[in-house]
Subunit: 385 residues, 2 copies
C-alpha cells in the first residue's frame, strides 16, 4: 500500500447559500483546493454527499460535479454514509492513491440543505436512522440524541451546564473561524434559555442545517515531497466501521461501538496510541455527541466527558483541544461536507496556518466523522511529516 499525503485543501464559507447551487459550491471548494495545492492534476474524483436526492432532487453527482469542474473522462465516484459521507470520500480518495489506481485523487464533501423546508430537511436527515423501526414511528435525530443525553445524565450525573459548555467552547473557537456559519460566542444563559427541541436538548445544543462544501487533494508522499509548496502532511491511519443503525438494537446506548472500532483501527494503522494525538475534530452534531465520542474513543473515561469539558480539558488552551474549527455546532453541518471540512482544519493546524485558533506545536490530529446515531464512523489520523 502506497503512503498517502494531503497536498491541497479548499473550503467555502458555510451558511444559507441561496444564491449558489450544489454544483456551484462543490466546484468552488475544489478550485480553492487546486489553488492551494499548486497543481491542477486530478486522476479521479471522490464525492461525499448524504442525500442530494432528497435535498435537491439530483443524484448522479459523480457526473454532474466532474462536468461542472471541467474534468471529464476520468473516474468519479460518489459515496454515502449519512453524515459520515465526507470522511468516506476521503477514504475513497485514499484507496485510489494507496492502490495505485490514481496518482492524484480529489475528495469533495458537499451538501445543499437549505433549498427545502425545515420539515423536508428533518425528513431527509431522518433517512440516516432506521426508517422501519425509528423514523416511521415519529422519532428524528434530536429525539434519538435526547435519549442518549438522558441516559448519560442518569448514569453519570452529567449536568445541563456540562452539556452547554460543549456548545459554548465550540462557538468560542468558531468565532475565530472565517468559514463558520455562526462565528459568534454564546453564553451559558443563552443556551439554557434557547428553545427546547427534545428534552434535555435545546436549540443551542444542536448543530444547524447548512449549505457547504470542502475539498482535499491527495497524492503519494513521494509526489508531495516534490511539490514543496507546503510542509508534507500524511494520512497515517484510517478506520471505518459500522454499528447497528437503530438504537433499540444496541446493548449499551452509551457505547458507540463504530466510533470505538474506527478509532482503534486508525490508531493501529498509524502505529500510534490515543496518547500520541495532539488534538481532534469530532462529530458534535449535538452537545451530547461530543461527550459520547470522546468517551468512546478513550480520550476520556466513561462518565468523565461532562466534567472534563466544564474544566476546560477540551478547550483550545486545554490539555486536549477538541473542535478548534468550531465544530459542527458553530462552523455548521452540511452533512456530506463535514468529514472533509474536519480534515481541512487539521491540515491547516498542522501547517501552522490557523491564526488565533492555532494550537501550538500541533503535529498529529484525529478526525472523527459519524453517521446517524453512530451507525457508521470514519476516523483519520493526520500527521505532519
Amino acid at each position: 500500500m502506497k503512503e498517502v499525503a494531503i497536498i491541497g485543501i479548499g473550503i467555502i464559507k458555510f451558511g444559507e447559500l441561496w444564491d449558489k447551487s450544489l454544483r456551484d459550491i462543490a466546484v468552488e471548494s475544489a478550485l480553492n483546493c487546486l489553488e492551494d495545492s499548486g497543481t491542477d492534476r486530478i486522476d479521479s474524483i471522490n464525492i461525499g454527499c448524504m442525500s442530494s436526492g432528497l435535498f435537491i432532487g439530483q443524484e448522479h453527482l459523480a457526473s454532474i460535479i466532474a462536468d461542472y469542474l471541467g474534468r471529464l473522462n476520468i473516474p468519479s465516484t460518489r459515496v454515502e454514509s449519512a453524515c459520515a459521507s465526507g470522511g468516506l470520500a476521503v477514504r475513497s480518495a485514499f484507496l485510489e492513491v494507496a492502490a495505485g489506481m490514481s496518482d492524484y485523487a480529489l475528495a469533495i464533501g458537499v451538501e445543499k440543505m437549505t433549498d427545502v423546508s425545515m420539515g423536508e430537511a428533518t425528513y431527509a436527515l431522518a433517512t440516516a436512522a432506521d426508517q422501519d423501526y425509528e423514523a416511521f414511528h415519529g422519532i428524528t435525530f434530536p429525539g434519538l440524541y435526547a435519549m442518549l443525553a438522558r441516559t448519560h445524565m442518569e448514569r453519570w450525573g452529567t449536568t445541563r451546564e456540562q452539556l452547554a459548555e460543549v456548545a459554548i467552547k465550540n462557538h468560542r473557537n468558531g468565532s475565530m473561524n472565517q468559514y463558520a456559519q455562526f462565528p459568534f460566542t454564546i453564553t451559558l444563559d443563552a443556551v439554557l434559555k434557547s428553545t427546547m427541541i427534545a428534552d434535555p436538548l435545546r436549540l443551542l445544543d444542536c448543530s444547524p442545517v447548512t449549505d457547504g462544501a470542502a475539498a482535499l487533494l491527495l497524492t503519494t508522499v513521494e509526489n508531495a515531497k516534490k511539490l514543496k509548496k507546503h510542509p508534507v502532511v500524511v494520512i497515517s491511519g484510517i478506520g471505518s466501521a459500522v454499528d447497528s443503525i437503530a438504537l433499540s438494537q444496541r446493548k449499551d446506548l452509551l457505547e458507540l461501538k463504530a466510533v470505538k472500532t474506527a478509532a482503534g483501527m486508525a490508531l493501529q494503522m498509524s502505529g500510534r496510541t490515543i496518547n500520541d494525538i495532539d488534538f481532534a475534530e469530532v462529530h458534535d452534531c449535538f452537545t451530547i455527541a461530543e461527550i459520547l465520542v470522546l468517551e468512546s474513543m478513550g480520550i476520556l473515561e466513561p462518565g468523565k466527558g461532562g466534567p472534563a469539558t466544564l474544566e476546560g480539558y477540551t478547550a483550545l488552551d486545554g490539555k486536549f483541544p477538541v473542535n478548534p474549527s468550531g465544530g459542527l455546532k458553530s462552523k455548521g453541518h452540511p452533512v456530506g461536507a463535514t468529514g472533509v471540512a474536519q480534515i481541512f482544519e487539521i491540515v491547516n493546524q498542522l501547517r501552522g496556518n490557523s491564526g488565533k485558533r492555532q494550537i501550538p506545536g500541533a503535529r498529529i490530529g484525529l478526525a472523527q466523522n459519524m453517521g446517524g446515531s453512530g451507525g457508521s464512523c470514519i476516523c483519520h489520523i493526520i500527521e505532519a511529516k
Copy 2:
C-alpha cells in the same frame, strides 16, 4: 496493486417483490453469494444503490445492510453513480482488495423500486439526469433515449425492426434465465404494437422497473487459488469514466464518450484488445442503448449496430453474444443491482454453469454498466484463469 479474483456470486429472482424489503433482498443476495463462495469471511462491504432515499426513504445503507447481514465493526461503504452504481460497488470492492485494505471484500448491488407509484419512480430515475437543465423542464429518460434513437435513425438509417430485434434477442436469452423478471419470448409484432412511450420508443423497447439484488465476493488471486471450490476467475481490467450529464452539452449525441473511455481503460489495464473479448453484458436500458454502447466500445462500427443485431451478430449463437442473461430488458433493471448482476452472469458463463444459455468456450467477458444517458460508465473485464 494486488491481483483480484471473484470467488462468490449470488443473486435473487428479480421482480415486483412486494413481500420483501430492501434490507431483505440485499441480505438474501449476500447470503447466496457466501454460500456459493465456500467461505464466510468478509472484511468490508461495498454497496451500490442509486436512490434508496427517494425509493424507500432510507439512506445510510452501509450501516443498515451490514446490520441485517450480521456483520458489524467492519468498513462498509455505499457508492452511487445512478444506474452504474452496481459496477461502481464492484470497483470499490476491487480497490479494497487491490490496495490491501481488505482481504475479502463483498460487493452488493440493490434497488427496491416498486414500493412507490410509477410517477414517483419516474421522478426518482430522472434525478440521474441534469435536474436544472433537463428533468425540471419535463424530460425524463424515455424522452432522452428517444432523441438518441431519432438521431441514430436519421444519421444511419437504423430501422424500427432493428431496434425491436434488440428486445426480441434479449427476451429470447432471458426466457432461459430463472432469475429474470420477464422470462418469456416476445415477437416483432408485439414490440411494434406495444404502447408508445416516447416516439420511436415503445413499451417493449424499455427496461422495466424492478426490485432486485446481486452480490459478489472478491479476494486476492492467491486466496482464490487456495479455495479450489470454483475455477479461478479474475477481474483483469476496470475502467471508470464520466461525461457531461446533460445531452445538450455533448458535441455528438451518438458518441458515448464515458463508455468509450471506460472500455478503453479496462482493456488497457487487462492488456487485451476488444477482439480478445468473447461476449459482453451491456446496459440495454432501452433498445437504442445497446446499439449505441456496442458502437461506442468499438465492437461494431458506428451505424452498424442495427443491421448487425438484425443479422444475429449479437445473438447467443452469433459471432459476439451480447446480454446472454437477457439484459436489463428481460432480466429486469433494479438500477443499483444491474452492474453486479451483469458480472454474476459473466462469472457463471466463465464457470460453464449457464445451462441452455451457455456460450461454448467463453473465457473472457466484458461488463458495461452506465449511468443516466451515458454521464458515467464502469467497465470490467472478467477472465477465467
